[in-house]
Symmetry: C2
Subunit: 438 residues, 2 copies
């Protein structure tokens, strides 16, 4: 394994036994944070609205007069954003709705045995809470990504929490997206205290069944802790990641732009480039330097790129394996045979196929969801989708003949498990049926 260290760490044809080390993500130890967040959750649980206002002053540095955003503020948000953005949000919404709507279908009954009919019914999670992080920019796109499937699912109550800005207000693009999706309950509370409020409820904020949305480590730990009680959460969320596979057909400027786009998310962003072509690395390095020089978030991106990894693999057949071992949140395939490689991907959150499909498309407007599994969690699930806002209840109905057919099977198995009450629940019915027939 030859390691070169320029902007990115470069590994040439690494041996399979070194993959684990190369692909290792930074270890996150949240044990201490968990203690700290747990006590904050308890404060909100007992202190309610008053405590939320106090914590907002402490953490967000703003004294808010009340928690809920008025309907008037939500409705008038359209006056504060540009026509171009209104149009863009409209197109993104259309695409996201179109992609997310197809997942939910009612199943028709299945007769598993004669007289035994089983079916399932898909229903919305009734009350959902959407968390939209604050920070340097208004993440209104996340309102679309969470709110649209919630709406399609038919959730009965959709509430939204987001931290207030320095003047106590919420950015109009966030309010506008809430407005067009008919989300009426918007609260200016952020951080772990917002998660606590949605989990336990306060005088103003209703408790919900399930909490969705990204956030910093405090938010993530708070979500994990409340999920140990009675509230569900969407999925764990860690630092964002992209893997790019590039061969000699890839345009170094495209690759550089995609790596930088990932890196600008934050200094802990994870970037992995797998290339078939040793020469490509150098060209991409040059392009990265060029593009970074004009990037506003240059400092953030540079930090992330310094921790990033470039792996040269001249043995093409190994490439899907190393990607599957890593299970990246995003995967961009810029190769001649991107379709063939795509077919061999077993673990990734969302895959971007070919040279003209940047990750940014899925981040905003192509239709797929941008809430995706990080930290290797793509080995067990994909991105957020309609079914995350739904539940499927199983139903069954057995006719008298059906119970006569299947009853002996049930009784035999129940007795073997020493649950004779279970067996008798069948027997008492079979007795009645045969009594009637007798």
């Amino acid at each position: 394994m030859i390691i070169l260290n320029r902007t990115m760490n470069i590994f040439i044809n690494p041996d399979r036994k070194n993959w684990k080390e190369i692909l290792a993500r930074p270890e996150i130890n949240n044990a201490d944070l968990r203690m700290q967040v747990a006590s904050l959750l308890n404060e909100v649980r007992s202190g309610g609205d008053r405590k939320l206002i106090e914590l907002t002053e402490r953490f967000d540095g703003v004294k808010i007069p009340g928690i809920q955003i008025s309907g008037e503020d939500i409705n008038s948000s359209i006056n504060f954003i540009s026509p171009e953005l209104i149009k863009s949000i409209g197109i993104a919404r259309h695409n996201i709705e179109k992609y997310h709507a197809v997942n939910g279908k009612a199943d028709s009954p299945i007769e598993t045995s004669a007289g035994v009919s089983c079916w399932s019914r898909t229903l919305p999670v009734e009350k959902v809470g959407l968390y939209i992080p604050g920070g340097t920019a208004p993440l209104f796109s996340t309102v679309l990504m969470l709110g649209i499937p919630a709406r399609i699912a038919g959730c009965n109550e959709i509430i939204l929490c987001t931290p207030p800005g320095p003047d106590g207000s919420i950015h109009p693009s966030i309010l506008y997206c809430a407005h067009i999706l008919g989300i009426e309950k918007v609260f200016r509370v952020g951080g772990a205290q917002a998660i606590a409020a949605m989990a336990f409820g306060t005088e103003t904020i209703p408790a919900v069944d399930k909490i969705f949305g990204p956030g910093n480590r405090f938010v993530m730990v708070a979500k994990q802790l409340v999920s140990l009680e009675n509230v569900a959460i969407d999925m764990p969320a860690g630092p964002s990641e992209v893997a790019v596979i590039a061969d000699d057909t890839a345009d170094p400027a495209f690759v550089a732009a995609d790596l930088i786009a990932q890196a600008e998310h934050g200094p802990d962003s994870q970037v992995l480039l797998v290339s078939t072509d040793p020469g490509l690395a150098e060209k991409i390095e040059v392009e990265i330097d060029l593009q970074l020089s004009v990037l506003p978030r240059r400092e953030i991106a540079e930090k992330a790129l310094n921790n990033s990894r470039m792996v040269v693999m001249e043995k093409r057949a190994d490439i899907p394996d190393i990607i599957n071992s890593y299970a990246p949140e995003h995967l961009i395939i810029m190769c001649r045979d991107y379709a063939g490689i795509g077919n061999q991907i077993k673990s990734a959150g969302s895959v971007f196929m070919g040279h003209f499909t940047p990750e940014s498309a899925g981040d905003y407007a192509s239709g797929t969801n941008h809430t995706l599994p990080t930290g290797g969690y793509a080995s067990v699930r994909g991105g957020l989708e309609l079914r995350d806002f739904q539940k499927r209840i199983s139903f069954q109905e057995i006719s008298q003949e059906g119970l006569q057919n299947l009853g002996p099977t049930i009784m035999c198995m129940a007795k073997e498990e020493k649950l004779s009450g279970h067996s008798f629940a069948v027997e008492v019915r079979l007795n009645k049926i045969s009594g009637k027939q007798a």
Copy 2:
């Protein structure tokens, strides 16, 4: 609210404001247990197989010579169980396969905008671990309920952990079910230490991506704790529950049998009867006494029944509401209008419709899964199903024309979120396209 206290606690036409109190589940405080289990998990993480054998001796009271069950023992299990049971398992397997197989369909691509094609691919979770609890009876039915969807999904590695009996062996009915499903890796380890082994891996037991299966409080807390790291789990599992809705058409003997079947699971089983008919309560009480007198697990069932609740609601329209507030794991509807009531159910794990559909059917052999949400978790999800063993990866491919169409939308939104690198990843491609065209 009139409360009568006989075997069950009886509430007559309770006011809506008292529902919460009536439906309250016992509070479970696992904070102390979590500390204890966390340290055990760490012991296994560092101690591996040696530690597993030591803990098995401590907790299961048996010194096992090795952890893995031999292929010969698995294959020969058929010789130790009755032909009747073999036949019953075969029928149950057929029904469970038939019910679970229909869920997984590949989605065809959706053109969300011109030139923007999005699709998803359903793939198995590669490595899954099934936990089968020990105790007084061999829960081989759970092997079917976990193993069948894992097989249909196409999971690459399916391992099974279950505690050894006093002689160090595993019950042949468990091994037989593993055998017919082709599960070759069976380990005689139980409790929190088994969860640790499947989460972290040992010399003998491979680490898995997702852990499934019920267990006692130690197992549940261990699953929750490992799920805070990198391993996924199926769902939280608490004491089992049934709610029964019965009107004057219900046979008191059927109702009593179903309540007792639930109660025999354990002293913490939750039983709720909602009846439209004040007279029915008395008849059911009489039947319960009669049936209990011959029940082998009478003591366990009596304890659970003493904590159970019977609610009389003469206002039929309120019945679906009180059931939805409770969100029971199992719901049996024995009413004239069971179909109408079933249509109004919004939160329940699995619903059993009509007089001849006992819960036992779904527990063993009708086809639906018996791994169901407890503790009110039915408000957010249904029972285990094929998709719990799968993940859905989103894919997208954008043509040059597609990027020309959608690019400005993406760039506008990215700039509003102050992510200019995201915008440039589109711009650099649009420049190349227009350069080519110029």
